[in-house]
Every structure is written in C-alpha cells, then in structure tokens.
Amino acid sequence: MSALLEIKGLTKAYPGVVANDDVSFAIQPGEVHALLGENGAGKSTLVKMIYGLVRPDAGTMTLNGADYTPSEPRAARASGVAMVFQHFSLFEALSVAENIALGMEDPPKPRDLAQRIHDVSRTYGLPLDPARLVGDLSAGERQRVEIIRCLLQDPKLLIMDEPTSVLTPQEVEILFHTLRKLSAEGTAILYISHKLEEIRTLCDAATILRLGKVVGECTPREVSAAQMAEMMVGKSLSQPARDEAEPGEVLLTVAGLSMEPASPFGTPLRHVGLEVRAGEVLGIGGVAGNGQDELLAALSGERRSAPGAVEFKGAPIGDTGPEARRKLGLLCAPEERLGHAAAPDMSLTENAVLTGRVRKGLDQNGFVGWGKAKGFAEEIIARFDVRTPGPDVAARALSGGNLQKYVIGREILQDPDVLVVNQPTWGVDASAAAAIRQALLDLAQNGAAVIVISQDLDELLEISDRFCALNEGRLSAPRPARGLSMEEIGLMLGGAHDMHEVEAAQ
C-alpha cells in the first residue's frame, strides 16, 4: 500500500531551539495516526508545516506520490489537507455558518451552506445550528464547528490538535465515533495528543516525538501506556505522593455566589457554594468555558460579590479586593500565565512584587524595596527549580513550564492558608507538571486548604480529596474523589444532555 503522506527529514529551527530535527514518518490512507509527545516536543511546529503555516528549513513531503510544498493553508486545503485547531481559529462574534464559510475556498450561497451544514452534522452525529453565534457555544460545540468546516471540503487527511482537551468524557465518545466513521470511509487522521489511553483506544499507528526528534514508532494497541510514556518523556516519572490526614477546620466558605459575566461571551455564576478545610485538596472539574475564570476572579477578589457570599475563617470577604484577601491568607494563581498571573514584559523580580508585596513586606511606606524583591524572586527560582538565567529576565522569555513553576512557587512561598489554582499544569511539560502537583500536595499536607480548578480529570483524580464539577456556572455537590469512575464524572460534568441529541440524530 502506498502512503498518503510521506514526510522525510523535515527540519525547522527557531532562534535558540530546533523545533523539528530530521523528522520522518508516513501516514496511510484511512489510518488514524497518532503524533505523541510532551508539550514543547515539536508537535505543533510539525503540523503547522503540514498545513502550510510554517515553511520547513529542510526536508520533503509527498502527498499521494506527488511533491507537497504548501505555501499557505489555502494550498493545503486545496490538496485535501484540513486541520482542526486547538485554539484560535473561530470568530466569536460571527455565526456558525459564517465561520464555516471563512474556512472554505468557494463557499456555496448562505442558504445552500446552511443545508449542507445540516446534512453533514446529521450524517456524523454532530448537532449544530448554523445561525447561532459561535461566542454562545460551548467548547465542545465550537469544536464541532471546526470539524464540520473541515468535513465540508472532503479532506483526505484531517489533522486534529489535542481535540479532547476541551471535551467531557461523553463528548469524547461522540468524537471517536465520528473519527472512526471517517477513517472507515478512507479519510486519514493525524491525531495529536499526549493522552495515552485515548491513543490506545483510537489510533492505528503512533509516532513519538521528543525534543523535536522522532524517538519511536509503535502500534498503540500492542504496547502499554507506561511504555509509551517512557518513550515520550525519556524517563519514568514518580507519582505524586502524600500521607493520609484528617481534614481540619473550615477555612473558606462560598455560599449562594451568583455573578454576571464581565464579557459578552462569558459565563454567569449561579448559586455556587463550596467549603474547603485545612489540609484538603478540593478538585473542581469542568470543560473550558463553564465559569472557571469567573469563579477564580470571584475568589481572588478581582470581581466583588455580596460580603457574605465568600467567607474566610468565618469573616465575610466577598466585597474586598485582591490585596485585602492576600493579607488574610487567601492566594490565587489564575490560568493564563502571561498577562494575568504575570506581566510578560516585566522581569521576574518585578513579577515577584505583583502578588508578593503585602505578605512578603516588599514595600515600606509605599516605596518598593527592590533588593528585597529580588531576594524573593531568587528564592522562588531556587526552591522551585525555575530554569532561567536570573531574576532580571522578562517573564515571557521563560518556557511555559518554568513560568508556571515560578507563578505557583510565588504563591506557595507566601505561606497561604487557602490557595486557589486554575489549570496549574496546562501546557506544562510532564516533569514540571509532576513537580507542581507535588508542591500542591505538600502545601495541603502542611495544613493549607487547596482548591484546584482543572480540565484535566486525571490530574484531579490524582491529587484531590473531594471532587465537584462546574457546569454552565453551576457547581455540583462534592463527592469523595477516591473511587470515582470516568462515567460518573462525565455525568457530573453534564455530558448526558448531548448524548440524547446524538442518539436522536442517529
């Protein structure tokens, strides 16, 4: 059988880093091919080259036996290569139909397009209303927009970049169903992920990347997840560990917290209630866009609420600002590292002052003690193994994992009574992620209460004592995390509703 896409010796270097180094592999027609690797292994650069967004420095690609050198995504689409992005390719203020039209070469007339969207979504079990604004859709629905946009062009190769990171377990099932159907019809799928179990269920072949190089190939069904993990990371990782302990007094209580969103496409919070005790980790799961950012803002004090809606050690603090809450001992680390948790163009020393000023006494009579601030920055760097030339480097010069260690470290070293983190290991390499999880567990061990908001369910099950789910701004009742199955979690996350639609469509 001749390969659909054959890649030979692809190389792409950026200043200071070789993103892809002599990468070669082949994808067969109708095959579901996994591209596996950690964050920063070079997966994104590789697919951008296949999709014509980036031009390789060296190497060749052949599609169906012919030379393939797409100069832009349009050329790639014309050759039958389509891509579903992880982020950044939808327009919130435009309708579903408009979004789809923008991704097509010659879109049909609006009315015909609406009909075709309807047809394709029915055929593949992906219900979608062409007239709705994308901004009003859930993450899973947005992904359907992208998939349908690709399918309308009858691609020979469909590239999917981390497609399940925004889906509930039930939605993942639907997606896999669609992908298998496509594969059976002869469409090859290049499936990018770092989730091993998924790859084992879905993929026919896998190519593993590490630090820009191909380090192995395998048939996922025939090897264990642990074997693949070792190929991917290059070493075996220790599981985070902690001792069992009885939770102490209640430190933070949220009751009847409702809040309108700050942006037009934000999610309102509806009667959110929770409590955390000293020494425990509360995990809050949920698919992106269900109110995670809003909940963090309400806890950090960026958004105010009624005084009694948030109570810290029994004292109402709902109407206080971030500084006052920090002073009391309630600290937060938001999801977006650059621009929210840290100022990209400021040095690490300046970023240390960002949240550390009050508790670390980095100012006197309003004047910043830069020497002290630098000392604090150096302490974070040393204690949390942040790889950087020094505290004078701008935050944006750090890799995702290192900056995340810095941000989390900055809060932990301030000795919080309650720490709230959102997506603590998002886009972070495996060893940094393990270090961050361990640090959070150690913090709880030492008597602090920790709230972890995350979309990574495996992570939550690994470190939480209790688990609750955030769905459309509502928080479910907590359940003990131990022994919770994926099925049960999926129901908590509110995936059941979609299942019915699919069954109806089939």
Binding site: F91, E92, L94
Partner: protein, 307 residues
C-alpha cells in the same frame, strides 16, 4: 426670530458630508481591527491638496481625486508604521494628526483667499427649484450623493459579501484569520488606504465645496467627530449616516442661532457640536451590552504572526 427649515436641511446635509465621508471610511478601518486616530490629519491634508488642485487646475474632479490621494498618502504612512513596523496605533494616529496639521499649513501657504472653481450640481437647476423637496433632494454636489451611496455600498459589502465577511473576520480575531490563511496585514493596509481616501475626499469637499476657501486648521475637529460617530453608530453604516446628519443639524442650527443673535452665549453655541457629541458618546457607551457586541474584538491590537 425665524429659521427657514428647508434652508436648514440643505445646510445640514452640506455641513455633514465631510464628516460622513470620513466616518464611513474610518468605520471600514475599524471593522478590520485597526484604530486610526489620524482622521483629522488625513482630512486636513485632503482639504489643502484638494483646494490647491482646484485653484491650479480649475477642475473640481481633479481636486476631489487629489484630495483622496492626499488622504491616502498620509494613511499609507500610518499603514506602514502600524502594520509593517508594528508601532502603537494610538500614538501613530496622533502623530498623523499632528503631522497632517503642520503639513497642510505648509502646503497651503499663499492659498487662503484664493477662489476655487464653482462646482456644478449634477441635477438641472429647475429640479432644485421645486418647493421644499427641490433644494433638499436635488440641490447638492455630486460628492454629497456619492457619500450616501458609499454608506449603502459599505453596508452591503459588510453584510452580504465574502469580502465583507473576511474584513469582519480579520477585525474580530487576527490570530484566527491568520490560522485560516488570510493575509491579515494586506487586508488591513487596504482598509486603512480606503479610510484615508474617504477622509481626504471629505476634506476636499470641505475646502472646495462647502467653505470655498483654505483656512489653516479649518477641519476644526471634524476628524475627531468622525471618530466619535463611529462609536456612536456602534459600527453600523446607516447609523453613521444618521449620526452625521444629527451632528450637521446641530452645527447648522447653532450658526443660524448665532446669526439670529438670541440670548444664548456665543461660547456655548460655538461649543455645542462638541458638547452634543460628548453627550451622545456617553449615552452610547453607558449601554454596555450593545457597544461591546458590535465593536471589533481585535480593535487597536498589534498583530505579529509569530508562526
């Protein structure tokens, strides 16, 4: 005291036309995600270039084309700086206005007081003599009709064509548009040039048709009012037309009130178009849901494809 409503309406349309042209151009620029605060500078450059051309060649058509060219030339500076050299749009727009004011004064030395050729109206004079509707509908220069047609055209293109869809998409999220393979920078440069041509034409209309003279700084904030109109209109073309005529009505009315010497202080009348613009801006912006939905999400943000 009596104010002739027909004459007032005619004056209103003439007063509004330069602002309307500049505003509809800026609307397209902003829809593509670019904030060009240099409208005043482009307008005044269009005014001086148009006037000089009119006096030197005696041809109003050439004058209007030259005015558009002048506005476009200035907008090209803005386009190169903000799109290729990634400069801050607010600062660059301000620089464009300051530069345009100086350049226009320089180019216009010796021209104040010169007489431009008379611009003939497209409709026969007999039509314009019909009672009431005649002067209002048929008594204008071709550019005035063009300005209304332009509003219609912009509305149609933005709402119903693929070009309009791509333009809106680029203004909504340049990352997404780039990921789909659209040439963000090229599209934005074209939009900026269109805005420059519109502002330049508006300026030329002001000097050649409305005032029929060149006076330093004669735009007197019209470019800023055009910018305010775009916000007022929540980025919708027909509302720009409405806003421009509203502004023109107040400007024309206050001139008449001054002439009528009623008891209102002159300073207040002089300031009234600006005060009304501010009040309207406040009313619009306090309605948060509406303003936020129509504003292009990428407005004013620098785009650099980091690949």
């Amino acid at each position: 005291m009596s104010i002739d409503l027909v004459a007032l309406t005619v004056a209103l349309i003439t007063v509004s036309t330069p602002v309307l042209l500049a505003a509809i151009g800026e609307l397209v620029v902003e829809k593509s995600g670019v904030l060009n605060l240099g409208v005043e500078g482009m307008m005044i450059t269009g005014a001086v270039v148009g006037f000089v051309t009119a006096v030197e060649t005696g041809s109003p058509t050439l004058a209007f084309l030259a005015g558009m060219g002048g506005g476009m030339a200035l907008s090209l500076i803005f386009a190169v700086l903000t799109q290729l050299l990634l400069s801050n749009q607010v600062a660059t727009g301000l620089a464009l206005t300051l530069f345009g004011l100086g350049l226009s004064a320089l180019l216009g030395v010796g021209y104040p007081g010169q007489t431009p050729p008379v611009v003939t109206d497209p409709f026969p004079a007999a039509l314009a003599e019909i009672l009431v509707v005649g002067p209002i509908l048929f008594g204008h220069s071709l550019v005035t009709y063009l300005s209304v047609l332009l509003v219609a055209a912009v509305w149609y293109v933005l709402a119903f064509t693929r070009t309009g869809l791509i333009l809106r998409a680029v203004g909504e999220s340049h990352e997404a548009a780039h990921a789909l393979g659209y040439k963000v920078v090229r599209i934005r440069i074209l939009a900026i040039l269109f805005g420059g041509a519109c502002a330049g034409l508006g300026g030329a209309f002001l000097s050649v048709v409305r005032v029929q003279n060149w006076i330093e700084g004669m735009t007197a904030g019209a470019g800023w009012i055009a910018l305010a109109l775009v916000v007022f209109a929540s980025w919708k073309p027909w509302r720009v037309l409405f806003g421009a005529y509203l502004f023109g009505g107040i400007a024309a009315l206050q001139l008449r009130l001054q002439a009528a010497e009623i008891g209102v202080p002159v300073a207040l009348l002089d300031a009234s178009p600006y005060l009304v613009t501010i009040i309207v801006l406040v009313l619009i912006s306090s309605d948060r849901s509406r303003a936020a939905l129509n504003a292009p999400a990428a407005l004013g943000r620098v785009f650099h494809a980091s690949s």
